[in-house]
């Protein structure tokens, strides 16, 4: 049933496959983000309580949910690599970690810049904020482990174990606003059933969210291809590709 997946475990096939996907992801990211951001900044109505500071939402929420989504993807890759010893799963986990770290940093920074005018403080040791900060440290730990060992298999194993142990943080972030009494507001978009948001605010959000998700796909593809090349440097197909593309002799 899963046989069609097998060729993608071959690094050469995956390298060329992601290369073919890249222009599509790039075009989608550019289109969705330009529509979404212009809509969010110029046309979406201001919030009746928060005024125009609410426009930070259009970066903050996609970045925060993608920071968790990327971690989830990385945890699945880590599991595949630890259980089935798929080398490409390690490469994809290594490719995702820096992207997740940047999105976590964006979620924290934009949250801070939103918290200052709305809550009166840049930072507070509240459950949601603290657990998101721990997510950033988990990403940094994973990145450090991937680069700490000369042997990439060993590095992947160490980083994979940290990733899986750290995944306990995901439900903590998600439910922190319900489990603890926090300053951070509850979810408005992903509530089961109906989102409690008016449609002229929700539509630009969906464009921004999908646009950022496509941007993640673009950057992860670039980094995944880099990881494949670096990890297969002695293979004949990489050698051929290199002699065609190297800029200086």
């Amino acid at each position: 049933m899963w046989k069609w997946l097998h060729p993608y475990a071959n690094p050469e096939v995956s390298y060329h496959f992601t290369g073919r996907l890249l222009p599509w992801f790039s075009a989608l990211a550019a289109i969705l983000l330009s529509i979404g951001l212009v809509w969010a900044l110029l046309f979406a109505p201001a919030d009746y309580q928060q005024g125009d500071s609410f426009r930070i939402f259009y970066i903050h929420v996609p970045a925060a949910s993608l920071s968790m989504g990327i971690y989830f993807g990385m945890a699945i890759a880590a599991l595949c690599s630890l259980v089935w010893q798929l080398k490409l799963a390690d490469a994809s986990a290594a490719a995702m970690a820096p992207v997740g770290a940047v999105f976590t940093a964006i979620a924290l920074l934009t949250g801070s810049a939103w918290g200052k005018p709305m809550w009166g403080t840049w930072w507070i040791w509240d459950a949601r904020l603290t657990s998101e900060l721990i997510l950033l440290f988990l990403y940094l730990g994973v990145i450090a482990l991937h680069s700490a060992f000369e042997d990439k298999n060993l590095a992947g194993k160490a980083a994979g174990i940290l990733t899986l142990v750290g995944s306990i943080n995901l439900p903590i972030i998600k439910y922190s606003v319900e489990w603890w009494n926090t300053l951070h507001q509850g979810s408005t978009v992903s509530k089961l059933g109906k989102p409690s948001m008016s449609l002229d605010m929700l539509w630009p959000f969906l464009f921004c969210f999908l646009g950022f998700a496509m941007l993640v796909a673009v950057i992860v593809c670039y980094r995944f291809r880099n990881e494949i090349l670096a990890r297969n440097s002695i293979r004949p197909w990489v050698r051929e590709l290199v002699s065609a593309r190297a800029t200086h002799k």
Partner: protein
Amino acid sequence: MQFNSFSEFINMGGYGFYVWLSFGVSALLLVILLISSKADHQKIINNIAKQKQREDKLRQARELRKQQASSAQDEAEQATS
């Protein structure tokens, strides 16, 4: 359109600093990440090319040494015979 003039748009109802700080920092981080991820590709290719050159040189040196050794041996055998 929610704003009547460009200065009103920049001002963001008094929240301009926070809104533009958020959008600016996010754009900066994402652009840096995107460009560095893209630029790494060529860097890795050049590194592998260098590694290949080094290996070729080592192989050539090894073959040269082997040739010299065998020719020296031949001379030595001729001298004794």
